[in-house]
């Protein structure tokens, strides 16, 4: 439904005027049109199949299962809104996961955008060894999330981790990081800041696109560095900032691997397959909405409740995707 809303904001373009071909006979024109339509369909066919089988069909099933009681073994039975009531009222995990999401959106996304912009600015100012710095700043982004998370759980482990060793040597307080409910999300934020490479590159490219003349004009008017940033840089890159915020929010909605691996490794409750693990260690502080779907659907075999959470996630994600498409026409159109 949000898709329809978005399409109304779109200008109808790409229609061919029938002009030059109006002379031809109706039959030839119809044949030509059919041929073109078939050709287009042929090129699009992988995606048409893929979209139907891997998005549309499961999405409809998700809605269907949200009204069913189904454990994956016995036949599904209709239970009306009972799954919805369970998730919204009785589930111990749903609301904490939403609260965590809010925290991550407000703090982690903000930190990432500010830090990414800062690093992007820095790299455009560096004269000596710019290539080396850029490579170094980008590299962590490529590290496999599981490996990066394991590395950070090790680096930040309260007992023997290098970070606390150094903090201790400097006489600073040594937080419990991933083992403490109040420090686990800041620890994840730190990890997210380490993997800032993609944002850095996007900001760097857009900063280099700001017209030089505007800086020169501002300087002639006596603008200092802060004023140049505020009145020249920021207006020029604001579409990219918005893009970074919205994609950041969407990424936060699917945030899965890092908090799960951190929670498992930090709690020490891992031992291969089949072992159940209370998600969100410590004290639900790293629980995200996708974890709740996994927990309900694949650990408790409560398909219906898992689908309810999936629908909530879908609606939230589509609202933000709608924003993205509305506010950044460049993302979509770019007509030839």
């Amino acid at each position: 439904m949000t898709t329809a809303q978005v399409s109304s904001g779109q200008t109808p373009s790409g229609r061919l005027s029938p002009g030059p071909r109006a002379k031809r006979t109706g039959g030839a024109r119809r044949a030509e049109r059919t041929r073109r339509a078939l050709r287009t369909l042929g090129f699009l066919s992988p995606w048409l199949v893929g979209f139907s089988v891997f998005f549309a069909y499961p999405l409809i099933s998700t809605v269907y299962f949200s009204f069913m009681k189904y454990d994956g073994f016995t036949a599904p039975t209709w239970v009306g809104l009972r799954n919805w009531v369970y998730v919204l009222q009785d589930s111990p995990f749903f609301w904490p996961s939403l609260r965590n999401m809010l925290w991550l959106v407000l703090v982690m996304v903000t930190c990432r955008v500010v830090f990414g912009l800062g690093i992007g600015l820095l790299i455009t100012k560096v004269k000596a060894g710019a290539g080396l710095f850029r490579t170094l700043f980008y590299l962590p982004y490529l590290a496999p999330p599981v490996a990066a998370t394991m590395a950070f759980v090790f680096l930040l482990n309260p007992g023997t981790g290098p970070v606390n060793t150094i903090l201790g040597a400097l006489g600073l307080p040594e937080p419990d990081w991933f083992s403490s409910a109040s420090w686990s999300k800041p620890s994840l934020t730190l990890l997210a800041l380490w993997c800032i490479g993609d944002l850095m590159v996007i900001f760097m490219a857009s900063l280099l696109d700001v017209p030089k003349e505007q800086y020169e004009a501002a300087e002639l008017d006596g603008a200092g560095p802060w004023q140049r940033f505020r009145y020249v840089t920021l207006p020029n890159i604001s579409p990219i900032v918005l893009f970074a915020v919205i994609t950041g929010v969407i990424a936060t909605m699917q945030y899965y691997t890092e908090p799960l691996v951190a929670a498992k490794v930090a709690s020490g409750v891992i031992g291969g397959s089949g072992q159940t693990f209370e998600p969100g260690y410590p004290d639900k502080s790293t629980l995200t909405v996708p974890h709740v779907i996994y927990n309900l659907g694949f650990q408790r075999f409560d398909t219906g409740a898992a689908c309810v959470v999936a629908i909530v996630l879908f609606v939230l994600a589509m609202i933000f995707t709608g924003f993205l498409m509305r506010r950044r026409s460049g993302f979509m159109a770019a007509e030839d």
Binding site: V49, F51, F54, L142, P144, I202, V261, G297, A306, A334
Partner: protein
């Protein structure tokens, strides 16, 4: 701007120059330039430490002895290169490699091959519903995979009985990947219409125009999207957790690494050695294909 031609290392202003007012102003400007140079580069070095030190500490721990890894010391007493061999010979480790290469390799080839014609049509054809199609691609790209995972799992596990194999991970990529389509289309839009029109006038069919004229020009974008896809699979944890967790013979590196830590509860040195071994190929490939990566990221964010 102040960062003109002055080398920051050249000492500014002589005593004679300072005598005149102009000389003083010049010297002040020069001093500002030097100070700014120092400030920017010290900031950059501080940031570099933040990005580099985690790698360094992980590596140093990877070559520590078992005993030392339990202490707070940061520099290894002895360099235990054998830790890497120990990890390599851990049961299952080679299987994880094979599975990962299979998943990432096959998945990438399928995803790119099936996404090219779709991206081509979305960039070069004019047809009704094109904008709607494009919106569906973007929506699919943004959709959290967890939204459809429950029915997808039921489909693979109950209807096709393929849970525990790599098929549910690989096969979907044969039907176009939203991100790959998006990235390729962004690039194809930048290829001027004249090329395709010239080919058409020469009597080329659409398919031949795509293969012979456009794809050779799109090589950098294809390389970038292939790399991104390969690393997506390489890094994927969620997919393997859902589909192959019950069958250790089908685990991939990212999924296996975590269970590796479970089996070596206290051995941070071995865990970090395994971490290094999973990060290493990524880093090596990056050094060879830096340009493609950077171009790919830029294409996703800036174009238009």
């Amino acid at each position: 701007m102040t960062q003109t031609t002055l080398s920051p290392l050249r000492k500014g202003g002589t005593a004679a120059g300072a005598a005149t007012g102009r000389g003083t102003a010049l010297r002040a400007a020069r001093r500002r330039a030097v100070l700014r140079w120092i400030a920017v580069h010290s900031l950059a070095i501080a940031a570099a430490l933040f990005f580099l030190l985690p790698f360094v500490f992980v590596f140093l721990t990877a070559v520590m002895s078992d005993d030392q890894a339990l202490t707070r010391e940061l520099w290894p007493h002895t360099w235990e290169w054998g830790n890497f061999a120990t990890v390599w010979h851990t049961p299952g480790f080679l299987t994880w490699w094979r599975n990962t290469l299979l998943y990432a390799g096959l998945g990438t080839v399928l995803a790119v091959a099936s996404s090219i014609p779709v991206a081509y049509a979305l960039a070069k054809f004019r047809f009704r519903g094109r904008n709607l199609m494009m919106m569906l691609v973007i929506a699919a790209m943004m959709l959290p995979p967890q939204v459809v995972i429950v029915p997808m799992y039921l489909f693979w596990a109950k209807q096709l009985d393929l849970a525990g194999t790599l098929w549910p991970l690989i096969v979907p990529f044969a039907f176009g990947n939203a991100f790959t389509i998006f990235l390729l289309r962004q690039f194809l839009l930048t290829i001027p219409r004249e090329y395709t029109e010239a080919a058409r006038i020469d009597g080329c069919g659409e398919f031949r125009t795509m293969v012979r004229v456009v794809l050779p020009m799109a090589r950098p974008a294809i390389a970038a999207s292939a790399l991104f896809h390969f690393f997506y699979c390489w890094n994927d944890y969620f997919g393997p957790q859902i589909y192959v967790s019950e069958n250790p013979a089908a685990w991939t590196l990212s999924y296996g690494l975590e269970s590796f830590k479970g089996a070596h509860q206290t051995d941070w040195n071995l865990t970090m050695a395994a971490t290094v071994m999973i990060m290493a190929p990524v880093i090596v490939v990056f050094f060879f294909a830096q340009k493609a990566f950077i171009e790919g990221v830029t294409l996703t964010g800036v174009k238009g």
